[in-house]
């Protein structure tokens, strides 16, 4: 998971990258800042903020926001929410949240893909007949039905 966060953390201006669950439990983090940041408290505060926002906009019939930015005097906090987790990025004073928008979206998409990939692999039952190692490659342009012995077009 850290390998997925590393490219984002290497971007100029990014001080801390943290992946948290929706209830504020830190999953993974990478930081470049000189001052150590307590990931537990940052995770808890970020999740609490996002939940507060969700509660504030609920009376309007809105879903919880997928992206939230908090620009302040000494830095910026950017949160990007997905189905299963929330990506938290702390930026330096000079960096704009727009600079990391694409990277954050990409990182979170990769994390989701990795999670779904693992989930699917874990949920699939083992094949009844194992594939042979030296099986012939599937020919291009042939539909699955044609591979099962039926002539194409029928």
């Amino acid at each position: 998971m850290i390998a997925l966060l590393e490219p984002l953390a290497r971007m100029p201006g990014v001080e801390f990258v943290l992946l948290i669950s929706h209830d504020g439990v830190p999953i993974a983090h990478v930081h470049r800042a000189a001052d150590p940041i307590h990931e537990d408290s940052l995770a808890a505060l970020a999740a609490a903020w996002l939940n507060d926002i969700g509660a504030a906009v609920a009376p309007l019939g809105w879903h919880a926001p997928v992206r939230a930015c908090l620009r302040a005097a000494r830095g910026t906090l950017v949160l990007r929410r997905s189905e299963s987790a929330c990506l938290v990025v702390c930026l330096g004073r000079e960096t704009s949240p727009e600079d990391v928008r694409l990277s954050m979206d990409g990182t979170l998409a990769r994390i989701e893909r990795a999670k779904h990939g693992r989930g699917q692999a874990a949920s699939l039952p083992p094949a009844p007949i194992p594939y042979r190692q030296g099986s012939t490659p599937v020919e291009e342009g042939l539909s699955p039905t044609s591979r099962s012995g039926q002539p194409p077009g029928n």
């Binding site: 940052l42 505060l45 504030a56 906009v57 879903h63 930015c69 908090l70 005097a73 000494r74 906090l77």
Partner: protein, 362 residues
């Protein structure tokens, strides 16, 4: 290129001046200022804005453009100062540079420059400016740590500038604002010793002496400021309407744009809303106030300092909130916010406008 630009802009400038002479409207003042700015004459652009503002003090667009030209001129001067300092560093240039940075609230940059200045020559003026930076940081954040740092820096400046009343006065203001009356009275006494017979100082000394009886100690006063987030006398300030005009015009202008769903100006418990009506307007304003309170609290807990902007994106669109000291502007649009709308929003925050005009209120 610059000369060519000037030659090309000559005709446009002449037309803009003639249009203004025929019809002196805020729009024509703005056009003239824009033409001056395009020609690189930021000083003239500023003068056009000042003239326009003296005739139409309520106009938000003019005041916004005036701020922008001032910012551009300031950046230009900063670049010049940096160039001069690279070639021949001297105290007068450092001082001007740091003062511009402090006045424009760029405290981190100011502190960096002062540190460089102090490393080069231990100028006592630099210590005073450092104290001003730390004071400004305390007034923005209101934390105990910043308060202690500011007081220590002020004491150092007083020590290094014995004949100068500025650090003493700054310390007096600081102690008065946090409500440490006894310490403030002692400081006023020191100011009077340096400048005997000053009526204003004598008056302050008498007031502080009367309050010194039940004065909290310095640490307790700092703790109270940190807890409440308010300096002494700020409750009264909340009622003072210092605005040069109403924000109604700006709200209406923003609300007419096609993808804007709602525009709000929030101050205290009053909200001016353009877009949604009735209960929806009320609910939207309440949500914005709730988000704002939560965001301010989160920023304080994370040590991020004063909040400049909160932006939320989701299936509802983009909601952007720009909080000022006592007020906030908010805009809800279906698409991205965009540069011009963001600037308009940021200019709305801190207007401290009177909310007594027409419009949907909640």
């Amino acid at each position: 290129m610059k000369l060519l630009n000037r030659l090309l802009s000559f005709g446009r400038l002449r037309r803009a001046r003639r249009a203004l002479a025929d019809d002196p409207t805020p729009r024509n003042y703005l056009v003239l200022a824009q033409q001056y700015a395009q020609a690189g004459r930021t000083g003239d652009a500023q003068r056009a804005c000042v003239e326009g503002l003296s005739a139409f003090p309520e106009n938000i667009q003019l005041s916004r453009y005036h701020q922008r030209t001032r910012r551009a001129e300031r950046e230009q001067r900063l670049a010049e100062l940096h160039r001069e300092l690279a070639h021949a560093p001297r105290a007068r240039l450092w001082r001007e540079l740091c003062e511009i940075l402090i006045e424009s609230d760029e405290l981190a940059r100011a502190e960096e420059e002062i540190t460089r200045w102090l490393a080069r020559d231990q100028d006592p003026e630099a210590r005073y400016l450092l104290a001003r930076v730390l004071l400004a940081r305390f007034f923005a954040d209101r934390g105990r740590e910043q308060g202690r740092a500011a007081l220590a820096a002020l004491d150092t400046a007083i020590e290094h500038l014995p004949g100068d009343l500025r650090p003493l006065r700054a310390k007096l203001d600081f102690l008065t604002k946090i409500g440490a009356w006894k310490d403030a009275r002692d400081c006023a006494a020191r100011c009077l010793a340096a400048e005997p017979g000053t009526l204003e100082l004598e008056g302050r000394y008498r007031t502080l002496s009367a309050r010194a009886e039940d004065s909290p100690p310095f640490e307790r006063a700092l703790y109270e400021v940190e807890r409440s987030g308010k300096l002494v006398g700020e409750d009264g300030l909340l009622d003072a309407r210092t605005s040069a005009g109403s924000v109604q015009a700006l709200l209406r202008e923003l609300a007419t744009q096609p993808d804007v769903q709602a525009v709000m100006y929030v101050r205290g418990s009053t909200a001016l809303v353009q877009g949604p009506k009735g209960a929806t307007a009320e609910r939207t304003a309440r949500s914005v106030q709730s988000i704002l309170a939560g965001s301010r609290s989160t920023a304080r807990r994370l040590g991020l300092g004063q909040v400049f902007q909160v932006q939320l994106e989701g299936s509802f669109g983009t909601l952007s909130i720009a909080p000022g000291e006592q007020d906030a502007g908010a805009i809800l649009c279906s698409g991205p916010l965009g540069r011009s709308r963001e600037e308009a929003l940021l200019s709305m925050a801190g207007l401290n406008a009177a909310t007594g005009g027409a419009g949907d209120r909640s």
